[in-house]
Symmetry: C2
Subunit: 382 residues, 2 copies
């Protein structure tokens, strides 16, 4: 298949590009280094140095014999995106090309403006690239479980049947997010659903939980192929932050009460999920929503898991609560369905001690580069 | 009160600015003539010539003794909007500053891009203008009944209580619109609701149905103060189109089966509703949604009303169905609640023969300027 991976330099994009090339697909990885630039501007660089996308692709080709075509271009600019769609006429596009940080989106007006405009225009442009150049293309879009927020009812997979005053209809599941970044993903879904109805597009919208992990089959060939690992408060996610704190010998900092529950998944499972979506495309005019995570955990449970794994690795770790920089419920009902991907064949890799110990060992190799201050909250919206 | 009317040159904005100035408020009318420019580009100019905003404001001042401050500025550009908020520190802002045409938003990629970027950035900038310069300001935002679409259940006022598998929560009423323009209003609501929760803003989101009418107390002082009257397929709404067709002696063109039901209101009632919202502000942290219309009608019913009124004015009128240029249901359930504004004191002006005859007479004065071809669909998305 001819596949474009938008945001191909990202934590998910790069491993996805490698995995799909490895399967024999023709892969184009497109990125404009927005995340690298914003990370540098906010002193949030990844722990390990990652070669640029051209160099990574060259290295991957030399090791695997598989080619990844690299395009440095801005998805939010249609003059840049359209010719690539016209040239490739993709059969599938994996759309990760968004400003990915919730805290970044809450830093300032300018950060909000960048997030809103980048993310919405990227999605609008992908839609029109497909409409104008490859109408049967399957758009696989990265959404987030954060679109649903933390409602007091069970979270279904994208859709809900509502019976109201004796009448019934089916709607997108209600969404209410905790950051502007997450809100832009809600807007993306609305935009996609509108154009799916209008033009009969084929879209899979993946409501993904926070991802952790550094190991993938292709990345493990060479350290320089590793996904970028952010551990700071802005671009890092909670598991990464805790692992780095454990290695750095500082307490794991739980935001508030730690009862915040989310659905998590291993990076290997992101790759599985995307491939399952790809191999099981949807009909024209369908917006399929899949909840993409493998296990529900509270922040306190994750801290405990990391503490235990660190103990096995000989590291003594404390857990402490700090004031929550985010406006969010710290104790709440949470029961999110995630049948769709399991029915397509997902075999979960769970957050076991073994997985966490492996990550701790990988992080420990770079302990000299850790700046533990960057893990503490620098952005507050509470 | 110090009030900024954004989109103050518009069909609603200009009458609103006059009405509020007439009440003794300090009014700033802000516009960048986007609608006039797009109307010219698409050969969709208003039937009557409208003086520019400065000239209208001067004329209004000379007749009423009331001043309307005019600012020619682009709401979608924060560098233009922010200093005005900083200077005025408004107690209320009426936000009409959006690309207002559904057909325009469906013309092309560029029209979609303009609509999405103009509307979303205008709303983001209004939010931040308030946050940074006047946090207690009441934002009165023009949404549209079109956000709800045509669901098979009763449409509530903005919110719905959902009971699902034995648990309950309250959510924004599900929304699913029929054009990109209407979809941007959904996105606006999502954005406003997020920032209301976050920063404790005060927002009233008016879900307005199609408006008709030329008469307002202030506008009737002088023809040159009349609201702009678009009668074409792009910027005109259905009532206006039918009135012009009746005067031009061509058949009233109903799209498809004509069973499309919407909630309509008289321009005088828009002014009432906005003033009621203004005089009854919401608490901090509240997004109040009000369904703003006075009567539900099908397109066929409107055609019949216009035919009957035209008969009274001595005009013989035919009604004919043409292929629907829009993708929409032509027969559907529709039952939308609209208690909120009535409870605040709204006294409706309905679409009576008298009202329609008065409009026909006003249109007839300009019959020489009518180009009846412009009423027929030039934009299709079906």
């Amino acid at each position: 298949m001819r596949i474009i991976v938008l945001g191909g330099d990202g934590y998910l994009g790069w491993p996805t590009a490698m995995a799909l090339a490895h399967r024999g697909h023709e892969v184009w990885a497109l990125d404009n280094y927005l995340r690298r630039n914003l990370a540098r501007e906010t002193c949030s660089e990844a722990l390990m140095q990652n070669p640029n996308l051209h160099d990574r692709a060259d290295l991957f080709a030399s090791l695997s014999g598989r080619k990844i075509e690299v395009e440095i271009a801005d998805c939010a600019d249609y003059r840049q995106l359209s010719p690539i769609f016209a040239k490739v006429r993709p059969e599938a596009v994996i759309h990760y090309a968004e400003q990915p940080s919730a805290p970044y989106s809450m830093m300032s007006f300018d950060a909000a403006r960048v997030t809103l405009n980048n993310n919405l225009n990227a999605t609008l442009n992908v839609i029109w690239g497909v409409v104008q150049h490859s109408p049967a293309c399957h758009i696989i879009k990265l959404g987030t479980m954060g679109e649903y927020g933390t409602p007091n009812i069970d979270i279904e997979e994208g859709w809900i049947d509502i019976e109201h005053k004796g009448r019934k209809d089916r709607f997108l599941f209600p969404r209410q997010a905790g950051s502007l970044y997450h809100t832009t993903k809600i807007l993306d879904t609305d935009l996609l659903w509108f154009y799916v109805r209008l033009y009969g597009l084929r879209v899979t919208d993946l409501m993904q939980g926070p991802v952790y992990g550094l190991a993938t089959e292709a990345a493990d060939q060479d350290d320089r192929l590793a996904p970028n690992f952010h551990y700071d408060d802005i671009f890092g996610t909670v598991v990464n932050r805790f692992l780095v704190q454990a290695v750095a010998g500082v307490p794991l900092t739980v935001y508030g009460k730690g009862g915040q529950t989310r659905g998590y998944l291993n990076l290997k499972d992101t790759l599985q999920c995307v491939e399952l979506a790809l191999n099981n495309p949807v009909e024209a005019g369908v917006l399929r929503v899949l909840n993409q995570f493998t296990e529900q955990l509270t922040v306190t449970e994750i801290a405990e898991k990391v503490r235990r794994a660190a103990g096995q690795a000989g590291l003594e770790v404390k857990v402490e609560s700090i004031p929550n920089p985010r406006k969010e419920k710290e104790e709440h009902y949470y029961n999110a369905k995630h049948h769709g991907l399991v029915e397509l064949g997902l075999k979960p890799h769970l957050m076991t001690d073994e997985v966490l110990v492996d990550m701790l060992e990988r992080v420990a190799k770079h302990s000299g580069q850790i700046d533990a201050r960057k893990v503490l909250p620098r952005v507050r919206w509470n």
